[in-house]
């Protein structure tokens, strides 16, 4: 089997993240005896020497102003017409699901979005993803190749150096779809800290000022910081800070949730954490059973002392 792995790179953090996920996928049993090649679409200006160091076989590469699903779909369609891959795996990004389905519909291939695990046997190929607000795993079977999947929440793996240098092919088509009259980047993502500790503020943190206090503490310690979707929708947090299925997915060594009830859609964003500590005044909140240890109390009674513990780290 021959598979194309597609990466979308926004910045240095996402470049390394993509490479780690690429390494992780190569270890899946599905990928035994599979030849993989890559297509990389990058807004981030980096030397392709990095790809030579870590990616196997062939790499199609396009430096791009804005990652727009239409552009990626068109380029992959052209590559596929030439290479006839048995499968196309799109690594997780804000646009991966859009690309997978646009491509699948156009090429009339079978596809599954948001895949968290995949395997195959003599009967077929199986792709698992979340459904029912991330409370249920749904497994889909695809019998026939070619297939397309977009991935979600694949754990990172250590980066391995290549033995052979791959062939890097620059994608020549530089067109922007004509339905876009004008485009501007108006804000770049905040630089993500590479921290082992994540702090998340939920709606139980009663006001914007309190969320800001927690945010500033996290920034001062260079911890990761996030909010639940209701907090962001209230305007107390930034949209880019949302943790969960519609935001960031994290796997820190320690995650501290403050005033978070623990909906499944949120929990997906932290469930790969090594250790979860929660502060909540409601002992029946779903987060309590899904945490390693909890303090049942109003966060205002404990937060300053809690921060003091981490000040000495």
């Amino acid at each position: 089997m021959k598979i194309l792995i597609v990466m979308q790179v926004y910045d240095e953090f996402s470049l390394l993240d993509n490479i780690k996920k690429y390494n992780s996928i190569l270890n899946f049993s599905f990928m035994e005896n599979v030849k993989t090649e890559c297509a990389v679409f990058s807004e981030y200006n980096f030397s392709t020497n990095i790809l030579e160091k870590y990616i196997q076989n062939k790499v199609y590469f396009r430096a791009i102003d804005c990652i727009i699903p239409e552009i990626i779909k068109n380029d992959i369609e052209n590559i596929q017409n030439k290479e006839n891959y048995d499968g196309i795996i799109i690594l997780e990004s804000s646009m991966s699901n859009y690309v997978a389905v646009l491509l699948g519909e156009k090429l009339k291939y079978n596809y599954v979005t948001n895949v968290v695990d995949f395997y195959r046997n003599e009967n077929g190929m199986y792709f698992k993803r979340f459904s029912y607000n991330n409370n249920v795993y749904s497994t889909f079977e695809i019998k026939n190749k070619p297939f397309i999947v977009s991935l979600k929440m694949i754990k990172n793996s250590a980066i391995k150096n290549n033995i052979d240098i791959p062939n890097i092919i620059e994608i020549e088509n530089k067109n922007i779809p004509d339905f876009i009259i004008d485009k501007n980047i108006i804000k770049r993502a905040d630089i993500k800290e590479n921290s082992d500790i994540l702090i998340v503020a939920g709606k139980g943190v009663k006001d914007k000022k309190s969320v800001e206090k927690i945010r500033q503490f996290a920034i001062s310690k260079k911890f990761l910081f996030g909010v639940t979707r209701p907090v962001a929708m209230n305007g107390w947090g930034k949209l880019g800070e949302i943790v969960g299925v519609s935001g960031g997915i994290y796997s820190p060594k320690i995650c501290i949730t403050i005033g978070v009830s623990g909906s499944a859609a949120f929990y997906v964003g932290i469930e790969n954490s090594d250790y979860i500590i929660s502060v909540n005044s409601n002992d029946k909140a779903p987060i309590i059973d899904m945490s390693d240890v909890s303090i049942i109390d109003d966060y205002e009674n404990v937060i300053d002392d809690l921060f003091n513990i981490f000040k000495i780290c």
């Binding site: 926004y10 910045d11 807004e43 804005c66 990652i67 699903p69 990004s93 804000s94 646009m95 699901n97 859009y98 389905v101 646009l102 519909e105 156009k106 291939y109 079978n110 596809y111 599954v112 199986y126 792709f127 459904s131 029912y132 607000n133 991330n134 409370n135 249920v136 795993y137 749904s138 889909f140 079977e141 695809i142 019998k143 004509d178 339905f179 876009i180 009259i181 485009k183 980047i185 108006i186 905040d190 082992d196 929708m233 949209l239 519609s246 320690i254 499944a264 469930e271 979860i276 500590i277 059973d289 390693d292 240890v293 909890s294 303090i295 049942i296 109390d297 809690l306 513990i309 981490f310």
Partner: protein
């Protein structure tokens, strides 16, 4: 200018507990006893539909705004609300079959409607909580050959034939000026709640007829991939609770549970 907003009525799954997620033999999870709501991404879309219409009026552009859903009787009360909010058309497409994991059917139904009722701006939510398929807008885009702008967080009218869309992608924020017709797929927008109609508007406009669109070409057919199992996810951890409160609770947390972990970081 014609604006179409597509929306879905879903069960409020936050009302369900873990033990409710048991699939029956036909691989369905019963959510019929749970309160319904407008899918949150679609709710943003409906509010943007109203705002774009107001912007069109301020630019002296004729506009017609429609709201469309694929569903059954449970959609009726929401369509009446949209009538009361002065949507010009509140349209229902009925389907008896379970389409939770069949976005293809929903996409084809919407496309059939649009083929008969051309639109300039189509607004859809990126996903809905039951199927989590994340596919319907892309299917509509492909069938109609209308371009799609994804992860939209804000929308404004620029003129009769163009819209300014704010898009979030990879943590970056972009602004695109887009030629219509186009499909705008709502992501995490700050405008997330639909206006509430006044009592006067409910009395004046809420009683207008809901429109029913009969499908001719669209049949409930096979999906690209076959659902073979549904299993509830168990997410329990040790769930320990610190016995004390306040300052003493934090001391207990640190001494009993955290000290060693922090020493290793």
């Amino acid at each position: 200018m014609k604006i179409l907003v597509c929306f879905k009525i879903t069960a409020d799954l936050d009302q369900l507990s873990q033990k409710d997620y048991i699939a029956d033999t036909s691989m369905r999870i019963d959510t019929s006893f749970v309160k319904n709501m407008i899918n949150c991404f679609d709710e943003s879309g409906l509010e943007f539909g109203l705002r774009l219409s107001q912007e069109a009026e301020s630019l002296n552009l004729y506009n017609e705004k429609s709201a469309l859903t694929v569903g059954g009787d449970k959609t009726e009360i929401y369509l009446k609300t949209l009538n009361a909010l002065k949507y010009d058309n509140a349209i229902r497409i009925d389907c008896d079959a379970d389409i939770t994991f069949n976005p293809k059917f929903t996409g084809e139904a919407i496309a059939e409607y649009v083929n008969k009722n051309k639109q300039d701006i189509i607004i859809m939510g990126c996903q809905a909580p039951e199927g989590n398929n994340f596919s319907t807008p892309q299917i509509v885009s492909n069938i109609l050959n209308i371009p799609m702008v994804a992860n939209v967080t804000d929308l404004h009218l620029v003129g009769e034939n163009s819209v300014k869309a704010t898009v979030e992608s990879g943590g970056n924020v972009y602004e695109y000026t887009v030629k219509t017709p186009a499909i705008f797929v709502m992501g995490n927008a700050e405008v997330s709640k639909l206006q509430v109609p006044t009592l006067k508007d409910r009395m004046s406009f809420g009683k207008r007829d809901i429109k029913y669109f009969e499908l001719n070409n669209c049949e409930y057919g096979e999906n690209q991939s076959t659902l073979v199992s549904l299993e509830p996810i168990k997410r329990k951890r040790s769930g320990k609770i610190v016995s004390l409160q306040g300052k003493e609770a934090v001391k207990e947390l640190y001494c009993e549970y955290l000290k060693e972990r922090l020493d290793n970081i």
